[in-house]
Each structure stands twice: as structure tokens, then as C-alpha cells.
């Protein structure tokens, strides 16, 4: 699980072009949107693409995204349970 969280942080920084942010800036419970990393709606779409491309997970219900993408912890938990 810890490896997955570290990989997710690296993937998010790379895919979302967060050049001012390093892995150490993202805690496992840092809010990815809003006051935390400040991701926006386009970033949310990129996270959906990342889930499908890298983990084979297709979000059938976009409403679930708000909860799944809230932190690294929630993303890792969802991936570990649903990875194909």
C-alpha cells in the first residue's frame, strides 16, 4: 500500500504538471482539491484517465469521484480494492 501511495504521488505530479510541488509536499491525507493541492475540474478528468490507463479502473459513476479523489489515502484504498 505504501508503494502504491508513493507511485500515485509521482504520477499525479507528472500527469498534472505540478512542477512547483514535490512528493514530500503531498501527505497521504492532504486534500487533493480545494485548500489542499488546489486541483481543478480538468485535473479531476486527468485523474479519471490515469485510473483507467494505469490501473484498468473505469469509474462507472462520476459522483464517486469526489470521494475517491479526495486524498492519496482514498485513491490508494479504492485502487487496491478495484485494480484489474
Amino acid at each position: 500500500m505504501e508503494n502504491l501511495k508513493a507511485t500515485l504521488k509521482e504520477q499525479i505530479i507528472e500527469r498534472l504538471n505540478l512542477e512547483d510541488i514535490s512528493v514530500s509536499d503531498i501527505n497521504d491525507d492532504t486534500a487533493l482539491f480545494g485548500e489542499g493541492l488546489g486541483l481543478d475540474s480538468i485535473d479531476a478528468l486527468e485523474l479519471i484517465v490515469l485510473m483507467e490507463n494505469d490501473y484498468g479502473i473505469e469509474l462507472a459513476n462520476p459522483e464517486e469521484g469526489k470521494e475517491i479523489f479526495s486524498t492519496i489515502n482514498s485513491m490508494a484504498d479504492y485502487i487496491s480494492k478495484n485494480k484489474k
Binding site: 498534472l16 504538471n17 512547483d20 480538468i42 485535473d43 486527468e46 484517465v49 490507463n53
Partner: protein
């Protein structure tokens, strides 16, 4: 009569402000030019890194113009009109977007949002909180007559000043030119806004 108060050229090998080289270097790829200018301006703007090359160059060009002419930042949020044009539209990003799904991949949302060239005006407007008139057109060549006539109309009708720009990125080559027009010759450059003057400074002659 309106006047050009400052102008800027960006290429792969130099930045020129008002016709004078301010930075020159060995010709570099576009991304390296962008990085060098961003670092030299000491900017902290996280959204910058998400932009495509066209928007980044437009953004940096305006930042260079503001640095060279602080008067630009003193205008009200509705006073500056943005008048931009190019010949390649957003072709470089269009190709990258197409490549993102060419082999069965999923189209990239962050590339998709830059598959219109006028997005660069939005990025400039958001950064500077400029909400005046704006226009982006695509034409084969730099059309000094169009810019001069349109800028003069904008200042006559609704704007106190106009920021104009011509920006192309193509096959790792940058061609960018920016100019600032106001009602008075604030910088004493003696550059009245007309087709001949604009064409001359665009060509750097």
C-alpha cells in the same frame, strides 16, 4: 492618434525589448526557452505549468512587457483590450491531442482545453484580471493594417489601451511579437500606431 509605447520579440535565441536585445542565447528548443524566461522572471504561478506552449509564450510575453513598461499594470480591469493573432492556430497542441488517443488511448482532457488558440487570451485575462474587449484571429501573415485599424477602433470605442500579439509555435520554432498601444506617447518612442510603423517594428527594421 495613438502610440506604440513598448514592444517585445521572443525567438528561440533572443528576447528583444523595444528592438534591443535584452537576453540572447544559443538557439534552444521551445520548452527550454519557456523555462529560461519563467525562471528569469522569478514567477510563482502554478497554473502556468499546465498551459500549452502557445499560452505559455503569450503569458511570458505579457509578463516581459509589464516588466519593461510598468504603466501596463496601472490600467483598470476593463481598460485594456487584447488583440491577438497567428497563422498556425493551435495546430501544435491539436497534434499532441490527436496523438493522445491515436493508439486506443483516452483523449487527454488537459490537452483538449488548449485546442483553441484564443485560450491564451483567457490565461492572460485570468492572470491580470483584465476583462476588456478581446479578439483572436487566424491569418496567413502578420497583418499590420488589421492590427492598426482594429486597435485604433478599440481605443476610440471602448479601451484605454491595447495589448497586441502575434504568436506561432511550429516544429520547435517560436515566433512571438507583442506591442502595447495607448492614447499618449508615454515612453517617447515616437511610434504612432499605423500600418507602416507596426510593420517596421514587427520586422525589426
Amino acid at each position: 492618434m495613438n502610440y506604440i509605447n513598448s514592444y517585445c520579440h521572443i525567438s528561440n535565441s533572443a528576447i528583444k525589448i523595444n528592438g534591443t536585445i535584452s537576453n540572447s542565447y544559443e538557439a534552444m528548443p521551445i520548452d527550454e526557452v519557456i523555462k529560461a524566461i519563467y525562471l528569469s522572471l522569478d514567477l510563482k504561478y502554478s497554473k502556468f505549468h499546465k498551459m500549452d506552449q502557445l499560452s505559455k509564450i503569450a503569458f511570458l510575453g505579457i509578463e516581459l512587457m509589464k516588466q519593461a513598461n510598468p504603466e501596463i499594470s496601472k490600467y483598470g480591469e476593463n481598460d485594456i483590450a487584447l488583440l491577438f493573432s497567428n497563422s498556425k492556430s493551435s495546430a501544435a497542441t491539436d497534434i499532441k491531442f490527436q496523438e493522445s488517443y491515436a493508439n486506443g488511448g483516452i483523449p487527454s482532457p488537459s490537452l483538449f482545453v488548449y485546442t483553441l488558440p484564443n485560450i491564451l487570451i483567457g490565461e492572460i485575462a485570468i492572470r491580470n484580471k483584465w476583462y476588456g474587449e478581446n479578439m483572436f484571429t487566424v491569418s496567413n501573415l502578420f497583418d499590420a493594417k488589421y492590427y492598426a485599424e482594429y486597435a485604433n477602433i478599440l481605443i476610440k470605442k471602448s479601451a484605454e489601451a491595447v495589448l497586441g500579439g502575434w504568436i506561432n509555435v511550429n516544429e520547435d520554432k517560436i515566433e512571438a511579437f507583442f506591442f502595447f498601444v495607448t492614447k499618449k506617447d508615454l515612453k517617447q518612442l515616437n511610434l504612432p500606431l499605423n500600418t507602416e510603423t507596426l510593420d517596421k517594428i514587427y520586422k525589426g527594421v
